[in-house]
Symmetry: C2
Subunit: 343 residues, 2 copies
């Protein structure tokens, strides 16, 4: 679908992000670099030697998609034209990435994962207790950092998202291995687990830049929420479609953990054999892979992918016209970056 | 030491708190009741069925010492004389208790505890994943609740405390089973794990009541931090002194978990046999009990207790005279409540 797509060695989404950085100009690049440095400083200064686990996890990287959303939304919402506002923007970007990192540390603990971003997870290196406390510390640092902006509206946005993440995790636990999950309930879980923090990222950027234009912050937040929802849908397609050499994990890893995702939900309605599979009976990567094959054969991967694409298209169309041409374009590019990885 | 002391069946601290409620008058009692109801509402409304674990943990009670500190500090700092300020106060009280509850859920997970406040812990009932997410949800709800007050200074106080709690937990993990812990390092851990949230409770109360008198908030916060430090010291004495029928847990439970506390640190300097005990070699409640006997025989329990009492006395003396007689008295009573349980 795009010249950026399909590169297995370097994920296409990283290329797309580089494209955004290029088009965003020197100001965006410099801000992202400052956010990166600040992120490292905040976690390193957290105050105890064992915070090195927190530092390692955060500094090991990731795409920094959420900080980028903060920056791009701020640019779209209005000028970030003084030093104070720029510092506030960097703090907001750091705060969303800290919340995201906290979630990763706790998710890895829950999933028993041993690797993350190519490094051993905190849970694997330092055990359960340290992983719990490290995640808590990252959450707390996120709020401490954002509190320095002195704007309760921003803190409300972040705490809403952080509550949503935890509720999404609880919902996922509750629905694990379930034989009958409605599409709407699955979408609600995606909104909680993924879309909420995307939404908060854009809301925060808009709040910082426009100095509290709630309407614009709301519109940009809604846009980002849709993008986040599509991101999760496509991630769930990828779990079933593979290939493993592209995703870096075996096909059906989520299914093996009991997570009921859209491809499975749709496939259950198409194929009685799939409907009768009890996820709790999957005990090996091989059996998960066979289920993935069955699902792929129903054509529901294409349905799920199409659904994600249409959500993204709608999100792009719903962007407020008042933003102006160049800003519109940059946000649309972010939406494309989310999609391109998967197509 | 007091007529409230020594009642084994009903903990003396609960009696002392009732005394504070009596002297605090109907306004204090009504506010505490409203905080209790609001706490239940917030956790129940968290949004997913599994939040029932969060609800059960929080609603099962506890002494509500931290919400009480919020209320008493507010009363001391100035009038809480309109409906809006009163609602803000209740939100602050709920927020600190939510952070405390989050910590308990995560601590129980880390310690593998099966009972808390006489009920099965979230980890025991619903497993590790749900316990991690429930704690995260409680943390998030705390910040969401406090953000509704619209005061970034308050959020800074809570996030500082919440960071401190996590750093204290990390420090405890790092120092577990250590042969040589300095007193100052132990005190630092107590400040992080316990004193910081006591301090935040008083700061929050003062900030709400006085509408942002930072100096007074600081003084009351410092007072509460000292009380919290003494609270932790006395708790650590109790772990060694028992008796089990009073504390509800076997003597030396902390030592068995590898936690090096003040009585052990002091006793190591008194008795070479104790200095040579490797906590990692304690494998049974009996061996922990024997170590407790050795420690008790050195007289260092009295030293540790005396240190806590002198911290409380200093804290009471350092209360700003400007508070006025009645308010001074109520805060001093809170300080006594912390001490009386243990004497």
């Amino acid at each position: 679908m795009s010249s950026l797509a399909g590169s297995a060695a370097t994920p296409a989404d990283v290329h797309a992000i580089e494209e955004i950085m290029r088009r965003g100009g020197p100001a965006l690049r410099e801000r992202m670099a400052r956010a990166e440095a600040h992120l490292e400083r905040v976690t390193a200064q957290a105050g105890v030697p064992l915070a090195s686990h927190a530092t390692a996890t955060v500094v090991a990287g990731g795409k920094r998609l959420r900080p980028l959303l903060v920056m791009v939304a701020a640019e779209a919402a209005g000028p970030v034209d003084d030093r104070e506002r720029e510092q506030a923007l960097i703090r907001a970007a750091v705060a969303v990435e800290l919340v995201h990192s906290a979630t990763l540390v706790h998710d890895d603990l829950i999933d028993g994962a041993s690797l993350r971003r190519g490094r051993p997870t905190v849970a694997a290196v330092a055990g359960r207790a340290t992983a719990v406390a490290t995640g808590d510390l990252l959450f707390s640092c996120a709020f401490a950092e954002l509190a320095r902006n002195g704007d309760a509206e921003q803190l409300q946005a972040l705490s809403d998202a952080s509550s949503a993440l935890a509720r999404g995790e609880l919902l996922q636990r509750e629905d694990a291995y379930a034989a009958d999950i409605a599409v709407e309930r699955y979408l609600e879980r995606c909104r909680l687990k993924t879309a909420a923090l995307f939404e908060a990222s854009c809301r925060l950027g808009a709040l910082v830049a426009a100095g509290g234009d709630l309407e614009l912050a709301g519109s940009l937040g809604e846009f980002a929420g849709q993008i986040g929802l599509a991101f999760q849908l496509l991630d769930d397609v990828l779990d079933v479609s593979g290939p493993a050499q592209r995703t870096g994990k075996a096909r059906g890893t989520d299914l093996l953990d009991g997570t009921v995702t859209l491809p499975l939900i749709l496939a259950r309605a198409h194929d009685e054999r799939i409907a009768q599979v009890d996820l709790a009976s999957l005990h090996s990567p091989d059996s998960a892979e066979r289920l993935c094959e069955l699902i792929a054969a129903t054509g529901t991967l294409e349905q799920a992918r199409a659904r994600a694409l249409s959500i993204v298209a709608e999100a792009k169309e719903s962007l407020p016209a008042a933003l102006g041409e160049g800003r519109h374009e940059l946000l649309a590019l972010v939406a494309d970056a989310v999609v391109e990885r998967y197509c």
